[in-house]
Amino acid sequence: MSSAEIDVILLSLKVAFWSVLLSAPLALITAYVLARKQFVGKILFDAMIHLPLVLPPVVIGFALLMLLGRKGPIGALLDQYFGIVFAFKWTGAALASGIMGFPLMVRAIRLSIAAIDTRLEFAASTLGASRLRVWTTITLPLALPGIVTGALLAFARSLGEFGATITFVSNIPGETQTMPLAIYTYTQVPGAEAQAIKLCIVAVLLSVAALAASEWLNRKADHHAQR
């Protein structure tokens, strides 16, 4: 495997890692709100969260480009005041794939939070635990299997992200060219099928590993709870 191909794989992993790490806290809060709270407009909010699951990724990418591009209303502000630029940077790729994986992560966490008996939290509070302590010692540990599953799903989804990424941050080798983009590029070049196939195999292996890890952790969590 050439160093260019290894760079592509490492960049993909970096993008996926940061997209999951930064979207996880937001996904946790969103999942908690959806699982526990009732409010006006909840159905609409829920639909918004799930949009990336059903919209063509290119639409998300284009929307990001319009809003967060250097000339976009939010992008210009971020650049001017914070020096943060997403357009045509690997951070933009992480943002795009984070958004695409967000609904998957929210769904998994939401299910695990909904499965928690809220009376356990009452029990903790009658034992003197503050709301923060109830959250960190009861709610969070009991939701952990869902958080891990959601994070791994989002990680796998990020490794496969193509449409939103290429639309938003383009296909720049060494900066935004993740595995799917590199594979696409190789398929456009005559005689580069061998490289394309190598990367495809790596993509399959990584995805299978992520899914297997999530399954394994789930079983471990079940076993742990029953022992």
């Binding site: 008996d117 009376r119 356990l120 009452f122 029990a123 903790a124 509070s125 009658t126 034992l127 003197g128 635990a129 503050s130 709301r131 010692t137 009861i138 540990p141 009991l142 742990h224 709870a225 029953q226 022992r227």
Partner: protein, 362 residues
Amino acid sequence: MLSVDIQQRLGTFELNTSFASAAPVIALFGRSGSGKTSIVNAIAGVSRPARGRIAFGERVFFDSTTNLWTPPERRRIGYVFQDGLLFPHLSVNDNLLYGRPRLPRARPQIDSEKVIALLGLAPLLDRKPAALSGGEKQRVAIGRALLSQPQLLLLDEPLASLDGDRKAEVLTYIEKLRDQFAIPIVLVSHALDEVVRLADTMVLIDSGRVTASGSVDDIMSRLDLAPATGRYEAGAVIETRVESHNARYDLTRLSFTGGALTVPHVEADVGARVRVRIRARDVSLATREPQDLSIHNILRGTLTEIRDETGPIVDVRIIIGEAALIARVTRQSIDRLSLKTGQPVFALVKAISLDRHSVGYA
């Protein structure tokens, strides 16, 4: 002194409850769905009533007129839920220590070694809740509540989810904790034998309202409440002391203000206080002192009340000394013996009817 006065609408159900008691063990008694759990939830602070006031001793937890509300974590009330509600991801030991006060200088009054010994938890400490039996879970739940150093302990149907043997086991532990720790207890129950065995004061709850409250003896001997306490189970409770044991026949003689009762052997020292429940259906009446009878317990008393009822069966109340008994007889017998209130009668109680479930250690 625990005083509760709360109003709350829960769907079509309306809770409107008021009672106050300083008894060491207060029982909230009523059928399932009568609102008992809603009341303890409000005392614990798990749910907030619409209106009213809840106070324990000097501390007011809730007062809707001043908009006062103390959250559960600051009430220091131990709550043992019906199904234990142990934290499934923590070991028994970590469950027990969860509520341990966080201030290191505050020396706990209830120490964990004592609780672990009392409730027999030592062999369970490393296990996860999923590996415990129903009775063990309940014991851990009680221990966990105790170790949070509560000023008041709420037990919501602690025995309801258990089978016969486990019930007896946990009941014994609750008796021990009542006797060893001076923590007032509110016991929610729909089982009369538990209430009689454990409680001093009884609050009868029906459809979210208090229908009667008072000492267990008084409530149990009231004829008008017999339907509320259950037709089959209706009966009076008498406070007695162990006078002597008869080893040859394995019997125990219990004395009370109106005389003495002979019952199958009771596991208690001479002089110990023992509470006996005598079911109305186990008491017969005679107008003259009977002779040559197999029945041991013939008690002389005065008939004070005949429950005015249609139907073949009538409950009557007899005062014996300071105690009261209920007898269940046919209406035909009332007429045949021409029984009237104020009349002296003899109450006949078979010793055999006083099984171990009828006898509690007060």
